[in-house]
């Protein structure tokens, strides 16, 4: 972990001509060879427009365009987990967003992931309209808005109205565990680095049952790569579940339609019958 951060910092500090060289070296390792092309690093020449206080401007409404919420690992197309939805609910194939292709689970944890998958209709917190956790919130498929100010950067997700506050100046340890964790941020050149801890063990990483424990530590790197795209790199560390830290990467796309807006997806009322319907009063016999 510390190593990886060091490498990241070094990369950020490198002069532009060095970056492609280093990337080439990385690309020749067998693991990185499986990395989808989408994760190619941002052009080192790109310098984002600045906010009035001089920071790279990440303001906007962003969304991923991939199948990571179905499964962050590579997966073929498959039928809908809910029969009634037919093709409308079927799973599109995906090349995966995990660096190296496979999540380095500890053996027992991989077994648990498979059980999660088998029982996903009963267990996936997304189905129950629970807060999505991190990083799932980012690629859950709905848009999110970045409201960037000097002290606080807010990430406001359409799904369940999930919200994260990234503390840029008034940083503290997580006061208690939570679904969305406790995020402290810093700028490394063009990159917003967000360090998040203090998670509970209740959220998942996708609909395929990939999961984490309360020892989860997430480091996200938001690097503008063009006026309308951000490279989103995530390092996941959780020694209770994974044998080593691992990474995923994907682009974020900006909504450019002029009327784009985060709308209400207050999903609690959509799941109440599913969650509490069995407790409904039955008509007298």
């Amino acid at each position: 972990m510390r190593n990886r951060l060091l490498i990241g910092t070094t990369l950020a500090l490198m002069a532009g001509w060095l970056l492609p060289v280093l990337t080439n070296v990385a690309a020749q390792t067998p693991a990185a060879a499986q990395t989808p092309a989408a994760q190619a690093p941002a052009s080192p020449a790109y310098r984002a427009p600045r906010t009035p206080d001089g920071k790279p401007n990440l303001n906007g409404i962003w969304q991923t365009m991939n199948t990571a919420n179905w499964n962050i690992e590579a997966h073929p197309a498959g039928p809908s987990p809910a029969r009634e939805l037919g093709a409308a609910g079927a799973v599109p194939a995906g090349l995966g967003v995990v660096d190296g292709g496979e999540i380095p689970y500890l053996p027992a944890a991989r077994k648990k992931q498979q059980e999660n998958y088998t029982n996903r209709l009963k267990l996936d917190p997304e189905i129950k309209c629970y807060l999505p956790g991190v990083p799932r919130a980012t690629y859950q498929g709905m848009p999110f808005q970045i409201i960037q100010s000097t002290k606080h950067i807010m990430l406001i997700h359409e799904f369940a109205g999930a919200v994260r506050t990234i503390y840029m100046t008034d940083q503290t340890e997580a006061p208690a565990d939570s679904w969305m964790g406790w995020s402290n941020g810093r700028w490394e050149g063009e990159t917003l680095v967000v360090d998040t801890k203090g998670f509970n063990d209740l959220s998942w990483l996708d609909r395929a049952g990939n999961f984490h424990s309360d020892a989860l530590h997430v480091v996200e790197r938001f690097t503008p790569r063009s006026a309308e795209t951000i490279t989103y790199d995530v390092t996941i560390e959780d020694p209770k579940v994974f044998s080593r830290p691992w990474k995923m990467s994907m682009p974020l796309y900006k909504h450019v339609e002029r009327n784009a807006q985060i709308l209400e997806f207050r999903c609690v009322e959509f799941v109440e019958d599913l969650l509490y319907g069995h407790l409904r009063k039955q008509p007298a016999k």
Binding site: S149, M154, T165, K281
Partner: protein
């Protein structure tokens, strides 16, 4: 579980329980000297000379953590005829109200089983609140009372009551329970921002073109665009409506329409329009006024004023639905009661 998710800013509140009476004046005055009469009224006069700080892009800066917790009722109490109390009268009114809140937590009462307000630091006297000498938040009509509900509004109220009756008892089904208990929306998020009773905390963050208001209760976020974009299509309706904002001098004016009407704020319909005015009048105060219009409920608009005072952050995640054991247990309890009653009936036959 709710108490666990309250703002951790009041982590030390439990220690203050035994000093309830003392806390009232300490919390009420915040940084000001005790019983300072100049603490109120918090709006116009004091704000004249004050120039609000600016964000880097030049907006008046409303950012930070704020609370609208107050003991001032929305409507003026019967028998009170003046607009402002003296500081002594205000203290006395607060004391009565605080005692009423404490009564909710008498050991052995039903309320005590669910919420012990004072034990968990949830009652207003233990949090910071806006000292305000007003006798009502409503400033227009000048009698401090809501305008009378018109014929259309009364008809809707009757229809809503009839629909509730048809739907059965409150514990028959989850849909019959209050929306706050269901963790759909709680008082406070608004618009308008209304004192939520506890956790009445807000965080305002501004970026070029936007003002964001996070309400602590159920992490409710409102993102207000400031770019004069047109109102959304009338088919798009939300629990909290859709807001459009603009700066008028140093005042943020926010107009909200497109409510879905399910919240029924004070009997209003989906036609409600709320106009809010935020003006920073001191480093620790934002004047907040709102006007509510709904010609299908009231023949005239009404306006209230409830200042936001600065409070300490941060705001912790309020994961309400995720730990809503209460609602499942209440419904399960009602079914168990019915089963028991049916068995007893069978037994006695």
């Amino acid at each position: 579980m709710r108490h666990r998710t309250r703002s951790f800013m009041r982590g030390g509140a439990v220690a203050l329980v035994l000093a309830l009476a003392a806390t009232i004046s300490i919390a009420g005055q915040s940084a000001a000297p005790p019983a300072a009469p100049k603490a109120a009224p918090a709006s116009a006069a004091a704000g004249k000379a004050y120039k609000a700080p600016r964000t880097p892009d030049g907006q008046p800066d409303l950012q930070g953590f704020w609370t609208n917790s107050t003991y001032v009722p929305l409507e003026r109490p019967n028998g009170v005829t003046k607009e402002f109390y003296t500081p002594d009268e205000a203290e006395a009114a607060i004391k009565v109200a605080a005692e009423r809140e404490a009564e909710q937590t008498e050991p052995g009462t039903t309320a005590d089983v669910h919420y012990d307000f004072s034990q968990f630091g949830l009652d207003r006297s233990q949090s910071k609140f806006a000292m305000n000498l007003r006798t009502s938040l409503i400033v227009d009509p000048t009698d401090g009372k809501m305008p009378p509900v018109n014929a259309q509004g009364q008809k809707r109220a009757q229809e809503r009551a009839a629909a509730r009756k048809t739907a059965g008892g409150q514990y028959d089904a989850v849909e019959n329970m209050p929306i706050g208990s269901r963790c759909i929306i709680m008082g406070g998020a608004g618009p308008p921002l209304m004192n939520a009773g506890y956790n009445a905390n807000y965080q305002i963050v501004q970026s070029p073109g936007y003002v964001m208001i996070l309400t602590e209760m159920i992490h409710d976020v409102r993102i207000i665009p400031l770019d004069n974009r047109p109102q959304p299509p009338s088919q798009v309706r939300q629990w909290v409506g859709l807001s459009r904002g603009r700066w008028e001098g140093d005042t943020l004016v926010v107009e909200t329409t497109n409510f879905n009407g399910k919240n029924g704020f004070r009997g209003a319909s989906e036609n409600m329009k709320v106009t809010e005015r935020f003006t920073r009048t001191a480093d620790n105060t934002v004047s907040y006024k709102f006007t509510v219009e709904d010609p299908t409920t009231w023949d005239r608009s009404w306006t209230a004023e409830a200042p936001l005072v600065k409070t300490e952050g941060p705001i912790f995640e309020f994961a309400c639905h995720e730990t809503n054991y209460g609602i499942a247990n209440i419904l399960a309890g009602a079914r168990a009661d019915e089963k028991k009653a049916a068995e007893q009936k069978k037994g006695s036959n």
